[in-house]
């Protein structure tokens, strides 16, 4: 339930895991908002004006003021809406530091491994991207063990900061697995993450905002085809000049 007088608008894109993080955060906090789907090949005036530095989604506009960068937005929601459910970040400074560390790891290592896989043009590059992805998953398995202390989530018995950070990628984990024939959060290698993925996806607040995996698979296949086309164009061009 939105506090009287609070206007929340989210500029996003259906397949953006970063925009999904914010949708999840808003959903878990029970905050209502207006959603604007952006066409990133034809960015709206509002997006360009609200995020002039990066021109990226997500952007949360709260009573006309824009907040950019997904995890900055998630912390903002904790701080600006203290009454809207339990905060995502724990109260103890050390635990907060650990949560921030892992959220940062997800962006720096897991996401960049995916980018490497997406951009892979050769079998070698694909193998490297896969290796990095699986290594990141293993590290996150350890993180989950450490943070959850036997509870279902990184945040303990309720969804917390790291759950939201990783949750943005949840639908893509399924889609990616399908497009690239992987099992990133494999039940044998990373049992806690496999269980987390299933459990997170079952939460009502998550279900309410998760994108359709089928659409993501379609998009993933399209991106793969584009990368392959770009690679063969480049190879043809290289052959012509040598």
């Amino acid at each position: 339930m939105a506090v009287g007088g609070d206007e929340l608008k989210l500029l996003g894109m259906f397949s953006s895991p970063f925009a999904l993080r914010v949708k999840l955060a808003l959903s878990f906090k029970g905050l209502s908002f207006q959603y604007v789907e952006e066409d990133l090949r034809n960015k709206s005036e509002l997006l360009v004006v609200s995020n002039p530095v990066h021109r990226k989604v997500p952007v949360l506009i709260h009573n006309g003021l824009p907040v950019c960068e997904s995890m900055v937005i998630v912390q903002y929601l904790d701080e600006a809406f203290p009454g809207a459910g339990a905060p995502f970040l724990p109260s103890d400074p050390y635990d907060r530091a650990v949560a921030r560390f892992w959220a940062s790891y997800i962006d720096e290592k897991l996401f960049s491994a995916w980018v490497a896989l997406f951009a892979a043009k050769t079998e070698e590059e694909k193998a490297e991207g896969t290796k990095q992805t699986l290594a990141a998953a293993e590290t996150l398995e350890g993180a989950l063990r450490e943070c959850s202390k036997g509870n279902p989530f990184f945040g303990g018995d309720a969804v917390g900061y790291v759950d939201v950070a990783l949750g943005g990628f949840a639908a893509w984990v399924h889609a990616f697995d399908e497009v690239h024939g992987l099992r990133q959060f494999d039940a044998a290698r990373t049992p806690l993450l496999a269980a987390w993925l299933a459990r997170f996806g079952e939460l009502d607040s998550a279900k309410a905002v998760m994108p359709d995996v089928g659409r993501l698979v379609e998009r993933g296949k399209m991106m793969q085809a584009q990368a392959a086309a770009a690679a063969s164009t480049a190879a043809t061009a290289a052959a012509k000049t040598s």
Partner: protein, 233 residues
């Protein structure tokens, strides 16, 4: 006078990420043991304290390690709550501060490192443009946000000041190596004046080694990258 804390910092004199933590601790008047690391021969303590990244800085408080410089800055602010505050009080201003500190680390610094790493003149020129563009955005940000105050953080050094100020020795080092000024009284007048104030601030001035030390370090990095690339080919 604050009681002595069980606090160690694993850092490097020339690392902007470690510099910003040292300045933050100085701002808070907290004493700590500074343990200079050798990144070519990493200590047992570093490997144990930061097994994931094996990087500096690491702040060890009461035996518990905190890694990632911006995470450490927020930790310091949240544990030692006496003034000055590193992050502003108001949620929107905090979000803006986090945005710009992130910008320094995700855009400015990598572009600048790219100048050092570039193997062709073309690549180098591209990275120089990128770095200049990033500085231009920070100049605009200062104009918009500082409202006549001396620092991004207002009257005293704050989160963004720490993030950007700690890169000053490297911006100067790259200028000495390649002849491009990234902070310039003509192009970025507000940042030029801000940089002076930052360098002279009590909490900062003992923590900024001469840029020539960074130049030397930069040359070592370049040699290492070249060797690695030659080995790979």
């Amino acid at each position: 006078m604050a009681a002595k804390e069980d606090l160690q910092l694993l850092g490097l004199a020339v690392s902007p990420f470690a510099i910003r933590v040292r300045i933050a601790l100085n701002l808070k008047g907290v004493s700590y043991e500074n343990l200079e690391q050798n990144l070519m021969d990493k200590s047992e303590l570093l490997l144990k304290s930061n097994p994931v990244h094996k990087k500096v800085p690491v702040l060890i408080h009461g035996g518990k390690p905190i890694c990632e410089s911006l995470v450490i800055l927020q930790y310091v602010d949240e544990v030692w709550t006496a003034a000055p505050s590193i992050l502003p009080a108001e949620p929107y201003n905090r979000a803006v501060a986090r945005f710009w500190a992130g910008f320094v680390d995700d855009k400015l610094f990598p572009s600048m490192v790219g100048i050092l790493k570039a193997t062709t003149e073309e690549e180098r020129a591209a990275k120089v443009s990128e770095t200049l563009a990033a500085m231009g955005k920070l100049e605009e940000a200062f104009a918009e946000r500082a409202s006549g105050k001396p620092f991004f953080g207002g009257d005293s050094i704050g989160y963004v000041d720490l993030a950007l100020g700690s890169t000053l020795i490297w911006l100067e080092a790259v200028r000495r190596m390649f002849g491009v000024a990234f902070i310039d009284a003509g192009e970025t007048p507000l940042l030029a004046a801000w940089a002076e104030r930052f360098r002279e601030a009590e909490a900062a001035n003992g923590e900024l080694p001469d840029a020539d030390i960074a130049v030397e370090f930069g040359r070592t990095l370049q040699a290492r990258w070249a060797a690695a690339s030659a080995a790979a080919n």
